[in-house]
Amino acid sequence: MEELLNVLKRALPKVDWETDMALVDDGVIDSVDVVSVISEITDEYDIEIPSEEMEPENFNSVEAIYEMIQRLKED
């Protein structure tokens, strides 16, 4: 999780990743930011994010992103 947090901070340094739990729902990050996040995590973890995973709940928090990555790795 700590490693992911660093990756996300690198992608969007101004976002409060530690405390915000509804980043997409609250409009803290927009669709362009989501793409930046995807770009970083696909690089870092060598995974592909299929379009069906493009749901706000998968990008609302570090935990949600972490769970999505784990799910995709298992697949």
Binding site: R10, V35, S36, I38, S39, E48, I49, S51, E52, M54
Partner: protein, 529 residues
């Protein structure tokens, strides 16, 4: 059948009675019958076109659903190892993809054929003229089915969601037809998702006085916005824009601002009537407007204006392009060469431009809409590029941002930028738009609005007062909506106060509404799309 006609009110009253007279589990059948009547009134040929899209998408979705089910069965049997399952999953995906492509080709071919054939021909002839190639000016008299741009997008979202496995296909053809042709939303949206509307539509709805009250009130509010405000502004805007070559910059600017208010009152009134009608049947449509003119930036404006179309483009165009292998590879390369910020900008530019060109074309087969789309695409991109720089500048200049005056400045700036785009939207052609913009920038001509001359443009002094009062009411309600759920707050008021307001609104529509014999209503702006 116009949403603001008397016959529409009779139609929904009859549908409402029939709906609650039969058993709850069969109530959707009444909606299907109502959809059929509503659509057939617009022309039998229109009905055939929508039936073609419904049938094709139904068959494709069922096929994709079968493929999903087959994979789930094999997986549940547990006879294959992980590698075999992965291979089968990929095969299954490819099969579904072939069906999806087929479905998309059919529904998009129908849309392109009826909406864009003459536009394409016109451009082909222009190119042929350029090269001196002789040709006949052959154009087709094509039917433009009611709401085709809206229901085609609705169908595409349904097929893609079934393809992804996000929803199960509707296997009852008649139920699926009810979903696609739902008469309150088929003409101008909101563009629904099956996971939302499909679930609600076939649930067993019981009669509720709350739904009747809320639905009727929303319809009345929609009538007021359309008939009192939007129609009056339409007279003024049409008059000024018709004589754009001689009207002064100030007058043209006023008309453009008036058009911005008109289009909001017009489109949002239709959404109120649509939502109100759906509410009568116990169905809640997705909100399409979230007080867009209070937006502080253009990206925010587009999250609050025509919300369901914006979400559609985000989910079915922006993200698929953004997360495509090509985009992510490009992003990686650019980030390596120029750093993260540039990479972010470059990769967002391609999908943003694609979204906005398509949004423009979606609005109509004319170059002015393409230019309008590009204008907004450029604004969104510039906003992305300059946002951090502006933030730094604001900090260095010690400008207070957490105060009303700064927010007001941001809202005015957004409204102004929006007005520039509206010129393309309202003018008859790109050339006309450019002339209007040029006249706004180069001529003043205050004399054209002074000494009562403003009232010579389709709306006299008395009617202008009505417009002004209506804008104040709309603004006040919008401010309240920013802070609370106005409908819920209204319901908590005393009975006498509530009925006084309802009667006031009702008589305002009766007395100040533009309708009746001899009056040719302009129709809703978005129903042409």
């Amino acid at each position: 059948m116009s949403y603001t006609s008397f016959i529409y009110l009779v139609f929904i009253a009859l549908t409402f009675c029939a709906y609650y007279l039969i058993l709850p589990r069969y109530r959707w059948v009444i909606l299907l019958a109502a959809n059929f009547v509503f659509y057939a009134v617009s022309g039998w040929d229109n009905l055939l076109v929508i039936l073609l899209s419904i049938t094709a998408s139904y068959l494709v979705a069922v096929r994709m659903g079968d493929l999903h089910a087959r994979f789930r069965e094999v997986k549940a049997a547990g006879e294959l190892d992980k590698a075999q399952l992965k291979e089968l999953k990929e095969q299954n995906r490819k099969q579904r993809q072939r069906w999806l492509v087929l479905g998309l080709i059919v529904v998009l071919a129908v849309l392109i054929a009826v909406k864009y054939t003459n536009f394409l021909l016109r451009n082909v002839y222009s190119v042929m003229n350029l090269f001196g190639i002789a040709h006949d000016d052959l154009f087709f008299q094509l039917v433009m089915p009611l709401g085709i741009s809206f229901y085609t997008f609705q169908i595409i979202s349904y097929m893609v969601d079934v393809y992804k496995g996000k929803i199960e296909p509707q296997r009852n053809f008649l139920k699926y037809a009810t979903y696609v042709s739902f008469f309150p939303s088929v003409v101008q949206g909101p563009i629904p998702r099956y996971s939302d509307l499909g679930t609600q539509m076939f649930a067993e709805h019981r009669f509720s006085f709350d739904n009747l009250h809320d639905g009727a009130l929303l319809i009345l509010w929609g009538f007021a916005k359309k008939l009192i405000l939007a129609e009056r502004l339409n007279f003024f805007v049409t008059d000024v824009y018709s004589n754009y070559a001689t009207n002064s910059g100030v007058l043209l600017m006023l008309a453009t601002m008036a058009f911005s208010i008109q289009i909001y009152a017009d489109f949002s009134s239709c959404m109120d009537i649509a939502s109100g009608t759906a509410r009568l049947f116990g169905i809640r449509l997705a909100p399409n407007f979230l007080r867009p003119y209070f937006s502080k930036t253009m990206p925010e404006f587009w999250r609050r204006w025509h919300v369901t179309l914006g979400n559609w483009f985000k989910d079915y165009v922006f993200y698929p392009i953004s997360i495509s292998k090509f985009s992510l590879k490009l992003n990686k390369k650019v980030r390596k060469l120029f750093g993260g910020e540039v990479g972010r900008i470059v990769t967002s530019c391609i999908p943003v431009l694609a979204v906005w060109i398509l949004t423009g074309i979606w609005h109509g087969p004319e170059w002015k809409y393409v230019i309008w789309g590009l204008f907004h695409g450029m604004l969104i991109m510039l906003s992305t590029i300059f946002a951090p720089h502006i933030e730094n500048m604001v900090k260095k200049l010690h400008i207070r941002t957490e105060c009303f005056s700064f927010r007001l400045f941001q809202m005015c700036r957004t409204f102004f930028l929006c007005c520039v785009g509206r010129v393309f939207f309202r003018a008859g052609s790109v050339r006309m738009s450019l002339t209007i913009l040029k006249r706004i920038c180069t001529t003043t001509g205050f004399y054209q609005i002074a000494n009562g001359k403003l009232y010579l443009h389709g709306v006299n002094a008395a009617n202008m007062k009505v417009v002004f009062f209506a804008i104040v009411v709309l603004f006040t309600v919008s401010v309240l909506q920013e802070k609370m759920d106005v409908l819920e707050a209204f319901k908590k008021q005393n009975l006498i106060f509530r009925w006084l307001l309802i009667y006031a609104l009702f008589f305002a529509v009766l007395i100040f509404g533009c309708y009746g014999p001899g009056f040719d209503p302009s129709g809703f702006i978005y129903e042409k799309f």
